[in-house]
Structure formats: C-alpha cells, structure tokens
C-alpha cells in the first residue's frame, strides 16, 4: 500500500508540473466566468446559467482526464521512469495502481477548483449554495475516475495515440449507448439487431449513469440510491479494468 502511495504522490507531483494542465485550468475558469456574460444572453435564467457552467466543469475535466490518462503512462516509459521504479521493490501492479491513484488525485484537485468557480458563478447570479450542483460535479468526478481507469487499462497494451482514439471512442459510446437501447425499443427493433445493441449496452461503460446535470439544473430531487448505485457501478467497472490492466502489464515485455 505504501508503494502505491509513493508512486501516486510522484505521479501527482509530475503531472502538476505540466504547463498544459495550468493552461487548461485557466481556460476552464475563464469559461466559467464567461458564464456570467452568457447569463445576460439568456436574461439571467438560472437553470440556463447552471447548465452552461456545469457543462464547463464537465468538458474541461474530460479534456484533462483524456490528456492525463492517455499520456502519463507513456511519459514514464519515454523518460525510463518505469524501468527505474520497477527495479526497486515495487511490483507492476503497485506501479499501475499508483499511477491510477495519482491521476485521480490530480483530477480531484482540478475538480475542486472548478467546483469553487462554479459555486462562485451561481452564487453571484443569485442561485445561493447549489448543493445539487455539487452532487452533479461529484458524480462527474466519479465518471472521470472511470475514464482514467479505462485510459490506464488501454495504456498497458496500446500506443499513446491509439489510447486517445480508444478512450475517446468509449467515452462517446458510453454516453449514447443507453439512448440507443431506448431508441431501439421505441422503433421496435427486435431479434439479433436488438441483442447486439443490448450487448453493447452491457459491455460499454454506461456513462449516462453519472449524468445528473439536468436534475441539478432544474432543481429536481434525486433519489440517494441513484448516486450510490452510480458510484458502485464505477467502482466495480474501474476495478475490473485495473485488474485486467495489471494482468496485461504483468505479461508485457518492457
């Protein structure tokens, strides 16, 4: 456990030195502040301001997760850090889990910054302390953790460029797969085609589970079980991805 924590801390330190990280954070905060001007465009309608600001927190965190998840592992390979670390009494599993945990910590820090900016914008627009907004951002973070887990898994057998392609594709598929099933039911698709859509639905991570932005925007109460089940789903899925990643990494020649 200590080894995992040491790798995580080093990963965190390494990633927060990246200038591009700050560029994205600054751009994200500027976007959030620009929501104040967007608010004027939509006559200060709070649900619309919330939707723009929540979209900003999600969009920029997704960019960060994609950037971090698909480059961090390969940077360690390029800089020979992975050889140095694995020559110490650190197992490959500990290294991989440490990388994952470190990246999650970086995203936790950026999420906290975005959340403060979000609450500032909504508070300024008269929305008070938006608890539902915090819950929505928290679930967005859980989604990003799953995203990082997938990127970490893909990094164990792929190249950096292909990792970006695979992770982006799964990200997109994860958001539309539940709508695809609903549409297939609506237009009465049956038989093999429907089974195929269903198979995709169960295999791909269903990222719509983490999307409660509309609940937060329209101030609709959310059952606690929705939140708990989404977190449990992410935990199980991320564990599976990491176990598979460790297995592949253990059998890989580096």
């Amino acid at each position: 456990m200590r080894n995992i924590w040491v790798v995580a801390k080093n990963t965190f330190k390494l990633e927060v030195r990246e200038k591009i990280l700050y560029a994205i954070i600054v751009f994200a905060v500027l976007y959030m502040l620009s929501s104040l001007f967007l608010a004027d465009l939509v006559l200060k309608e709070l649900p619309m301001v919330k939707s723009f600001a929540l979209a900003g927190t999600y969009f920029f965190n997704a960019i960060l997760a994609l950037f971090l998840g698909t480059t961090s592992f390969f940077k360690d390979v390029d800089r020979k850090v992975v050889y140095f670390v694995l020559s110490k009494p650190v197992t490959r599993a500990q290294f991989l889990l440490g990388k994952f945990l470190g990246l999650c910590l970086v995203l936790l820090a950026t999420t906290a910054i975005f959340m403060v900016a979000y609450l500032g914008v909504i508070g300024y627009e008269g929305g008070g302390f938006d608890v539902m907004g915090i819950v929505a951002i928290a679930l967005q973070y859980v989604e990003m953790v799953l995203f990082i887990a997938f990127a970490t898994f893909v990094s164990t057998f792929s190249t950096s460029l292909l990792s970006i392609v695979y992770t982006s594709a799964v990200f997109f598929a994860g958001h539309i797969v539940s709508a695809l099933v609903a549409d297939a039911q609506a237009i009465h698709i049956t038989g093999l085609k429907y089974r195929l859509v269903q198979a995709l639905y169960y295999i791909f991570p269903n990222l719509e589970k983490f999307d409660i932005r509309d609940f937060a925007v329209h101030a609709i109460a959310l059952p606690a079980s929705t939140f708990v089940l989404a977190v449990a789903y992410a935990a199980v899925y991320a564990t599976l991805l990491l176990v598979a990643g460790i297995w592949i990494f253990n059998h890989k020649e580096i």
Partner: protein
C-alpha cells in the same frame, strides 16, 4: 511582344477569377433563404439528444438563446419561432423559460399574423399546457397562462384555476403569490369570483380541486365578514381597524376566523381585508369552517 501578351493573359485570368467570385456571391445571394431556417431543417431533436452527450439542458439553452429573438419575426408572419420552441422543448422538456416566455409574449402578436393557424392566444396557451405537463416547478407558466386567460381569452374561470396552480407552485415570489391568491377578491369582483369558484367546485371530478375551490369560497366569505365587521367598528370608533385583533378586542367579532389556506388576515387602508403572504402558511391542509355573522 510575347511577354506582354503573357502578362495580359495573366491579368485577364485574375480578372476572370475575381469576376467569377463576384458572380458566385451574387448567385448565392439570389438563392439564399430570406430568413433563418427552422431548427428542424437541420436535424431532429431526437438525434440531438442522442449525440449531445447528456448535455440536454446546455444544448437546449444555447438553441433557445438563438430562438428567442425569432419572436419578432412573428410580427411579419413568419412562424418558425413556434416550431423552434417545440424543437427546444423536445431537446430539454424540463427547460421552463421557453414555455413561460412564449405564453406571455405570443399573445402580444396580433392574431391575424397567424394566417391559417389558431389565434395567438391559443398557440400561447397550447405551449403553456405542454409546459405544465413537463415542468412542475416554474410558477411563471401557470401565472402567465392565467393572465392570458383573463386578458385575451376573457375566461375568468380558467384564469382563477391557473392563478391557483401558480400560487401552489414552489418558489413563487411573495408578490406573485399575493396577486394570485387575491385575484378577484376586490369587493366589486367578489360575487363573480365566488360564483366562478362554486361552478368549479360543482363541475370538477377531482376531490382536491373541489376542496380548494370551496376553501376559496370560504376565504371570500371571510373577507366579506371582516369588512362588514370593520364597517361596524368604524361606526363605533370613527376609524377603520388596522388589524383584525382590534375587532376582537372591541368585541365586534368573537374571534378571527382562520384562513382556509393558513395565512394571516390584515386590513389595508379603507378597511379592505387582505391576507399577509409575507408570513408563511400555518396549515398543511386547507381548513373549512362555517362563518359566524358579525354582531
């Protein structure tokens, strides 16, 4: 000689290209649509919902920001606004503002502008009804519908019903709640309003609506009762009471009847009874009680 000919040819080719660009632009201007195309001409709202990665409210808000100014086109007979509001609402049915804005703004457009369609107030009310189906926490939709019914459709009964819906919607500000709850309670309107509530109570199949209609009637009777007591008070004391407690202290009435909706009765100038909606209701359920005539 050849060189001069070559330079001339190059210049001619450049001029021809510039002329071709200008001609293309001229042709484009001739065939381009005169106004912005409706949103539905791009793609279906179902497809937008499929690919917007869960950002239904963000996409709908952005589309609404572009749709809102189209309401001005209604004055010149272009009705893309109406279809675009339906489009925005299909992308995010819970977005309340497009419904509320349409309900209050469309009736301002002369009905004759909607050639071959329903009158503008009917279009507005149809949008409002759809809004009420989808959005339960935006008081503006029933409130503006009530105004439409009262001012444009001259339908006081429906106006009363929708003001009642607005008054019960969470988040309604005090000033709007006060107006909604007091709609039709002026001394000169009270008899008509009471009659309307009685017809609502006798015609509805919904027990909750009947109970609320009866509560409104009770409240109107309490207003009459308190104002009658205030007049008796004035005859004895020379001035109108400033609070209902003064009536009890002067033994004009034995007690102040409780408001069926749990609010406090107050007196405005001239002995007009009113309710104080700045204080929260004390009752979860309406209380119905018979009225004792003032002494």
């Amino acid at each position: 000689m050849v060189s001069r000919f070559g330079s001339g040819m190059k210049a001619l080719i450049v001029i021809l290209f510039i002329a071709a660009i200008a001609a293309t632009q001229y042709d484009y201007d001739l065939v381009k649509p005169s106004g912005p195309p409706s949103l539905a001409s791009y793609t279906s709202p179902e497809f937008v919902r499929l690919v917007d990665m869960g950002f239904h409210s963000t996409v709908a808000s952005a589309l609404w920001a572009g749709t809102m100014p189209e309401i001005l086109d209604l004055f010149v007979g272009k009705t893309e606004y109406v279809s675009d509001v339906a489009y925005v609402s299909s992308v995010d049915p819970k977005l309340g503002y497009p419904y509320a804005f349409s309900v209050i703004a469309i009736p301002a457009i002369p009905a004759g502008r909607f050639a071959g369609q329903d009158a503008s107030d009917t279009i507005a009310l149809a949008i409002g009804r759809k809004g009420l189906e989808n959005v339960q926490n935006d008081w503006r939709i029933p409130y503006y519908m009530a105004i439409d019914y009262y001012l444009d459709a001259k339908d006081e009964r429906s106006a009363l019903t929708y003001f009642d819906v607005a008054a019960r919607t969470p988040g309604i500000p005090d000033y709007a709640e006060r107006f909604a709850l007091n709609f039709g309670v002026g001394a000169n309107q009270r008899a008509t309003t009471e009659e309307l509530w009685l017809t609502i109570a006798s015609s509805t199949n919904d027990e909750a609506t009947r109970e609320r209609a009866q509560a409104y009637v009770t409240r109107l009777q309490i207003f009459d009762y308190l104002e009658a007591a205030a007049r008796i008070y004035k005859q004895a004391r020379g001035t109108y009471p400033t609070s209902t407690d003064e009536l009890v202290a002067a033994r004009v009435i034995p007690e102040v009847p409780p408001d069926p909706f749990g609010y406090t009765f107050v007196f405005r100038s001239g002995g007009h009874a009113d309710i104080d909606v700045t204080k929260p209701s004390t009752l979860a359920q309406p209380l119905l009680q018979s009225i004792v005539a003032p002494k």
